[in-house]
């Protein structure tokens, strides 16, 4: 998918510029992009380092464990098919908590562990189970309260208040997650 998208962007862009006589602009843009990549990567790197550091403190202090135990109670309602006290609850909870604080890299390993443990409950090994789909819907809807990359990019562009988008972002992501979960329930019922 991403492969096709990349081919499409570059080929159609260069071809269109060729026919509209815009080649000069494209030529300059390729060099200018490299500068953009450099500033973006260095800036994001530093902000990530800060957050990963803070989150490691939270993890070592047992804060993530505490929050995920609390969350497990809610998860029992969202994932009715997982047996009580199954280990996948703690992986799912840790994944959601890490995403919540904008720690994509910390969330992914938990998410992969959650998938592996959901697979042990799965009857048909090549087909997605209902719990897996519910779990991924929560992930694709991007439930978060600290969108770290966006904030760091806004800092890079010298926003007067880089975090003033937080509340609308949280509201929008909550709407997306709830809508995703409702759709998941409807489709699960229909496909039974």
């Amino acid at each position: 998918m991403i492969n096709k998208l990349w081919i499409f962007f570059l080929l159609s862009g260069i071809l269109y510029a060729f026919f509209t006589g815009n080649m000069e602009v494209i030529n300059k843009e390729i060099t200018a992009s490299l500068n953009t990549v450099f500033t973006m990567c260095t800036q994001i790197f530093v902000v990530m380092a800060l957050w990963l550091g803070i989150m490691r403190i939270a993890k070592d202090a047992g804060l993530l464990d505490m929050l995920s135990r609390k969350l497990s109670k809610v998860l029992k309602v969202i994932f009715p098919e997982i047996p009580e006290n199954h280990e996948s609850f703690s992986f799912i909870a840790s994944n959601i908590i890490a995403n919540f604080f904008g720690l994509g890299s910390a969330a992914t390993p938990f998410g992969l562990k959650a998938m592996k443990s959901l697979q042990t409950l799965n009857q048909k090994k090549d087909t997605a189970s209902r719990s897996m789909i519910t779990f991924l819907v929560i992930n694709t809807s991007g439930l978060t309260i600290v969108p770290t990359t966006v904030i760091s990019l806004r800092m890079l562009h010298k926003s007067a208040n880089p975090t003033d988008i937080l509340i609308p972002t949280i509201l929008a992501t909550v709407c997306a997650t709830i809508a995703g979960l409702i759709m998941d329930r409807i489709l699960a019922r229909r496909s039974r």
Binding site: W6, L50, I54, K116, A128, L136, T140, T163, T169, L187
Partner: protein, 169 residues
């Protein structure tokens, strides 16, 4: 109010950890070392996507396409500058980040468009990437209705971004 958010989060985490007698400084440096690995993983895809998206956007092909569907956008209160973002957000995180970067450069981070694009980027995740990665890791081939549920969440995320940015700013 939201300028309190990040300092308070840091304050609370450090307060809690120091009450638990954790070596806060060591934990912090250990954690932040991980960013090296992350940026190494992120760098190639950022490079690839930023170059490709910028070439695509500067070529003018998108403007030609958008002017065709302008009337529909007006109905959705969706400014045409953020349309590429709305389309690409579920497909590729690094290319939508590249588009966000463009919008912030051209319109400024504190403009309406800058804020709308920021909220869109922050409020949903890359559905295609998430599904590929997670299902791929356990060898699931039949993904059933998961793509539809994921894309529906993205659509609602984008529409509610528009709504809330209008309400707040």
């Amino acid at each position: 109010m939201s300028s309190f958010f990040i300092p308070m989060l840091i304050f609370l985490v450090i307060l809690y950890a120091s009450l638990k007698k954790i070596n806060v400084y060591d934990s912090f440096t250990e954690g932040s070392t991980e960013s090296f690995g992350m940026i190494l993983k992120l760098f190639p895809s950022m490079l690839a996507m930023i170059v490709a998206v910028n070439v695509f956007l500067k070529s003018g092909i998108l403007e030609a396409f958008i002017s065709l569907i302008e009337p529909i956008l007006k109905l959705l209160y969706l400014p045409s500058e953020v349309l590429p973002m709305a389309i690409i957000r579920p497909i590729s995180g690094s290319s939508s980040l590249a588009i966000l970067n463009n919008i912030l450069t051209n319109h400024g981070p504190d403009s309406f468009l800058g804020r709308l694009a920021s909220v869109m980027q922050g409020s949903t995740d890359t559905t295609f990437y998430v599904l590929t990665l997670y299902f791929g890791s356990v060898g699931i081939k039949k993904i059933r209705y998961s793509l539809w549920a994921g894309l529906f969440a993205d659509l609602i995320g984008i529409l509610s971004s528009i709504l809330f940015v209008h309400l707040f700013f």
